[in-house]
């Protein structure tokens, strides 16, 4: 299994290179082994959900994909090419937009500025183009049917749910081929959660590869094309949504059903 090339899994049912793939990735923080062996393939035009218990390694996996942590072992492939990333700006250069679990918003900056962080519109080389920054933010929010009183509102004055939506809107603004989301509905009510699901579906239909961590199995089954289960630092199984059900996924999460690593279809 450890020598299995990346292409074979996907090749079994579609001739397509994964937009993003992890091969046998391991990661330790000092003595603590956060990831043992993670194998993952995410394709363009799919909502790929990662589920698992607390401490299964979901967020660590996402931080490796986001360029915040480096993997100790294994490979990270983007569109079939092996890459290494030293910081978050490189992830962006490789076409990856991220919605972090802690949202990564700066409380003392306003909505428009937060949405532009890391890619701030300029006039000439050194000047900030505030008008364009605010117009872009307003456009994205309008596209997503999110109403915000003013893009000049400081993030610190928004509620948890509003912040979460702004964080998602920021990732959408980047308009990159791959989008990672870590628990994007954690602070949201039922209506807002459905709205986020709709946004994910629209992005998927636009051909983006969506990778989303979620605890909310109802949300997962409503929007997933593919589900990977992580347990104790391993990816124990990946299933297409139509080929699995809640009971199997819960069994895989808790370990009641033993997974077989990188297999896709039984």
């Amino acid at each position: 299994m450890s020598t299995e090339p990346a292409g074979t899994i996907a090749g079994a049912f579609m001739k397509e290179v994964p937009a993003l793939a992890l091969q046998a990735v391991g990661k330790a923080f000092g003595q603590v082994k956060a990831l043992n062996r993670v194998d993952l393939e995410a394709f363009s035009g799919e909502n790929h959900f990662i589920v698992g218990d607390n401490g299964a390694g979901k967020s660590t996996t996402l931080k490796i994909l986001a360029g915040i942590h480096g993997a100790d072992t294994g490979n990270l492939l983007i569109a079939g090419r092996s890459v290494t990333m030293r910081d978050a700006s490189e992830a962006r250069r490789h076409g990856i937009a991220v919605v972090h679990q802690d949202l990564a918003l700066v409380e003392c900056l306003d909505v428009a500025t937060n949405m532009a962080l890391g890619d701030i519109p300029r006039r000439g080389r050194f000047m900030l183009d505030r008008r364009r920054m605010e117009a872009e933010a307003a456009d994205v929010l309008a596209d997503l049917k999110i109403r915000v009183a003013s893009v000049r509102t400081q993030i610190g004055l928004l509620s948890g749910g509003e912040r979460q939506i702004v964080a998602i809107a920021r990732a959408v603004r980047m308009n990159l081929p791959i989008m990672l989301l870590d628990e994007p509905t954690a602070a949201l009510g039922v209506r807002e959660t459905a709205h986020v699901g709709e946004i994910l579906n629209n992005l998927r239909n636009a051909g983006k590869a969506i990778i989303c961590i979620s605890h909310d199995l109802e949300f997962v089954f409503a929007h997933a094309d593919r589900i990977s289960v992580m347990r104790l630092g391993n990816t124990v199984a990946t299933r297409r949504r139509h080929d699995t059900n809640r009971d199997e996924i819960i069994g895989l999460i808790t370990g009641a059903i033993a997974g077989t690593g990188t297999e896709l279809l039984s």
Binding site: G67, A88, V106, E107, C108, G118, V148, G160
Partner: protein
């Protein structure tokens, strides 16, 4: 499906008036006017052109240093070595002139030494993981000792007349030093308010983890901030040397460090980073200088100066806490 963000119009109106009261400039200008009026009642000479010029001239030394210090503090840093770098910049330029280096080059030399001192500060913090307050306290002692070592404890005199003229001259009654401060202030204001760099500095100071997650190169920004702080401190030192006509070993020291930090805090910059403006700091420096002057003009004993400054400092930081609490509280 819509999400309504932010308070209702009514709430926003309330919030707006509270906001303007919390703006440091508003309160500080009011305090300046009150103190000015009270002093002018006791001594009409307070409002003389000559005296107002004196107030401005005394304010600019601290303001130039406070520009670098404000940007640094907005970015989440702190520099206690500023008083020593101030001295170091002045005597380095003076020593170079004594060695026969033309004064424009000597000025550049003094500033470059200060920039280097700031670079060392940033690397001690970054590489050795020493908290900024301790790292720069350590370098404060080191740079202070270095100044004595370089000069043998003696002031460096005499300095060329042309150099002294740069610190002592005036145009249309406005001292050159005030003009330098205006230029430095304008540059820093522009950097903070009108450039992507300024936004990134606020992001690093406002939420460092978020800045990293957004791909901002935080270590590079830290280094730039300490370098600029070293640059403004040594620039102020050079200006001071020109004004007094010598490279003084005792020019700076802990008193200058504390005054600069005080000016920055009174000006509404948050010790915890993210918040603050150059206009606030300019008004803060002016207020400190005004108090100094006013108490003399009103024949108030000098100990009242420090007592008043202490109260204002505490009030400023207490107000900052209120501002931060509104922004950094997690609301559900």
């Amino acid at each position: 499906m819509t999400l309504t963000a932010t308070p209702s119009a009514e709430a926003q109106k309330r919030f707006f008036s509270a906001e303007s009261l919390l703006r440091p400039e508003t309160t500080l200008v009011a305090v300046i006017v009150v103190i000015g009026a009270a002093t002018a009642l006791r001594n009409p000479n307070f409002l003389n052109v000559g005296n107002v010029t004196d107030i401005a001239r005394a304010a600019v030394m601290y303001f130039v240093m406070a520009c670098g210090a404000s940007l640094l503090m907005i970015g989440g840093g702190l520099d206690f070595s500023v008083g020593a770098v101030f001295t170091l910049g002045g005597i380095s330029a003076a020593l170079l002139m004594k060695l026969g280096v033309p004064f424009p080059l000597a000025i550049a030399g003094g500033i470059i030494i200060g920039i280097f001192a700031g670079y060392i500060n940033s690397k001690v913090i970054e590489r050795l993981h020493v908290p900024p307050i301790i790292a720069t306290l350590g370098t404060f002692f080191i740079y202070t000792g270095l100044c004595v070592q370089l000069t043998g404890g003696q002031d460096v005199v005499p300095l060329p007349r042309e150099f002294q003229a740069l610190g002592q001259g005036a145009v249309l009654g406005v001292p050159y030093v005030v003009l330098y401060a205006l230029v430095v202030g304008a540059i820093f204001w522009f950097m903070i308010e009108r450039t992507p760099f300024g936004i990134e500095v606020r992001a690093v100071g406002g939420n460092r983890k978020a800045a990293i997650a957004n791909g901002i190169k935080v270590n590079k920004i830290d280094t730039l901030l300490y370098v600029m702080e070293g640059g403004t401190a040594s620039l102020a030192g050079v200006i001071y040397a020109a004004r007094v006509g010598s490279g003084q070993v005792s020019a700076g020291g802990s008193g200058v460090t504390l005054s600069v930090v005080t000016a920055v805090l009174i000006g509404g910059v948050s010790l915890l980073g993210g918040l603050g403006s150059i206009t606030g700091v300019a008004v803060g420096a002016l207020l400190l200088s005004e108090i100094d002057n006013a108490l003399i003009m009103a024949a108030v004993p000098p100990q009242y100066n420090t007592i008043v400054v202490g109260f204002i400092l505490i009030a400023a930081v207490a107000i900052d806490h209120v501002r931060r609490e509104r922004l950094y509280r997690i609301r559900r």
